[in-house]
Amino acid sequence: MGKTLAEKILSLKSGGDAQAGDVVISDVDLAFVQDTTGPLAIRQFKESGFQALAKPQQTMMFLDHAAPSPAQQLSNDHILLRRFAGEMGCRIYDVGEGICHQLVAENFANPGDIIVGADSHTVTAGALGAFATGMGSSDVAVALALGKTWFRVPESFQIELSGAFPRGVYAKDLVLYLIGQIGADGANYKALEFGGRALARMTMSQRLTIANMAVEAGAKVGLFPADKVTWNFLREHGRGDKYKPLSADAGANYEQVILVNLDQLLPMVSLPHAVDNVRPAAQVKGVKIQQAFIGTCTNGRLEDLAVAADILKGRKSHPGTRLLIAPASRQVLIRAIEKGYIRSLIEAGAIVLPPGCSACLGLHQGVLGDGEVCLSTANRNFRGRMGNPEAMIYLASPATAAASAIKGEITDPREFM
């Protein structure tokens, strides 16, 4: 019988015939922690009695969630992580280098890899055909020490994409639409596997946005096949030799098939306080916003800043709206400076924050006040997510965020195109 992508990768890695429902033990190609989950992972690692990493070259630590640190306790956690990395001989990406998932995509993730990270959006690397999933600190601690972990092989949903994005509609709108259809727990424990004729035209940046939010439907991974787009991305990032084509077999067994024609999509917005509470932007327009936030592992890439800069160039953000921009990595920031996007954004009134998670998780750099509304390009709008349970978070694409920043209220971006 044909295999899904998830079954295929897990079969290759576990050296057996992995089928949905099986439990397999698999080698791990990359294991990582970040600064809010890393300290507990280190404590669990030490408590287990481990002395060394199984694969120091394939272990990473990222200081991105509190970057730079806003509180002494977090600064001390950073010291703990730097010290551990030094002792164990693994690489640490310090404050200012960028968000873990962006750095994994830029530097490490390859088709067919198994990646585990102590962060739920580890799924982002599924865009490159890696079986990448988030785990807790204990699981990652054990993966760091043993170089392997266990998985239950997930059943898969096939998401078959046709058509092309219309004007003003982006990967974010597609993934919000999908989550609205599937529901926040509709793909719990499952793999989402993307396919269809639309993929050939879908850039790596768009794929990363989509894979990133697979977890918002409960999924364990969001997998794209490895194709020409993957190959080009790997070559641009100096690892063309890591490319291998990878796709599901014909006749693979899918639990569900979902067809989406991109031609018919609209700009979408997710409303507070649930990611699957999704409506077309046109139905939500007019809601006043005090903050617009463009960044995160979902939408902080060069293409995202390009879209925002294009809309904001020569215009001004609304006086009642703070416009925050946080590039996903240092490389993104440098390229955005070179291309002139940062200048256009700053001239439009944007506040540019250092590469990292920034305002996304409510720790620093844009905590909301009571009753305030933020339109964010992030992936979560749970109550309290941006640091205040009395605030409201709407999620949308960078284009919708840019257009809304200009008017000071939620706006369909096609008004500015």
Binding site: V23, I25, G134, D185, K220, F382, G384, R385
Partner: protein, 177 residues
């Protein structure tokens, strides 16, 4: 292995309790100080949760069993979420469904999560749970519920009291029947 049995009382909460509800990001600076962090468990969504759990333990009527609806623990991978739920005094969780990372984290912390039709359980009901066998007796209503089976490796980890004690004992993942 003898059956792991628990007796306690239901504290009922709703659907879609996120890891941001359990431990909001604004307390991330306390993550290396778990006793302090645990004081804020579910503070925004269910402010009286911690005192209810405490009151239950104080009466000696049995342990607190957290009973919730669907998609418990959606959101981040922060293992601190099940850690603080356990630290607050909850002995087991019953849910209609649970997000996969939260589910795995709770088991890794030795906190049993059983999936069953929790609509049938009332707030304050007296429960008797056979964790190993996946059976729940609601002594208040007289009904019995069964839960889906978890993978053998998970039961083995839970049986050892969590992933770290499991690894301390076996030094590796061992095949379980």
């Amino acid at each position: 292995m003898s059956d792991l049995m628990l007796k306690g009382r239901a504290i009922k909460l709703g659907d879609n309790i996120s890891t941001d509800d359990i431990i909001p990001g604004r307390f991330a600076h306390l993550r290396s100080n778990l006793p302090e962090l645990a004081k804020h468990v579910l503070e925004d969504g269910a402010p009286d949760f911690a005192s209810k759990v405490k009151a239950l333990s104080a009466t000696g009527e049995g342990k607190a069993i957290l009973v919730v609806g669907k998609n418990l623990g959606l959101g981040s991978s922060r293992e601190h979420a099940p850690v603080v739920v356990k630290m607050s005094g909850v002995a087991a969780i019953l849910a209609k469904s649970a997000a996969r990372i939260f589910f795995r984290n709770a088991i890794n912390q030795g906190l049993p999560v059983l999936l069953c039709d929790t609509d049938k359980i009332g707030d304050g009901d007296e429960l008797e749970i056979n964790v190993t066998g996946g059976k729940i007796a609601d002594l208040t209503s007289g009904i019995t519920l069964s839960c889906g089976k978890m993978p053998a490796i998970m039961s083995a980890i839970l049986g050892e009291g969590g992933l770290i004690p499991y690894i301390q004992k076996y030094k590796d993942f061992v095949a379980t029947g």
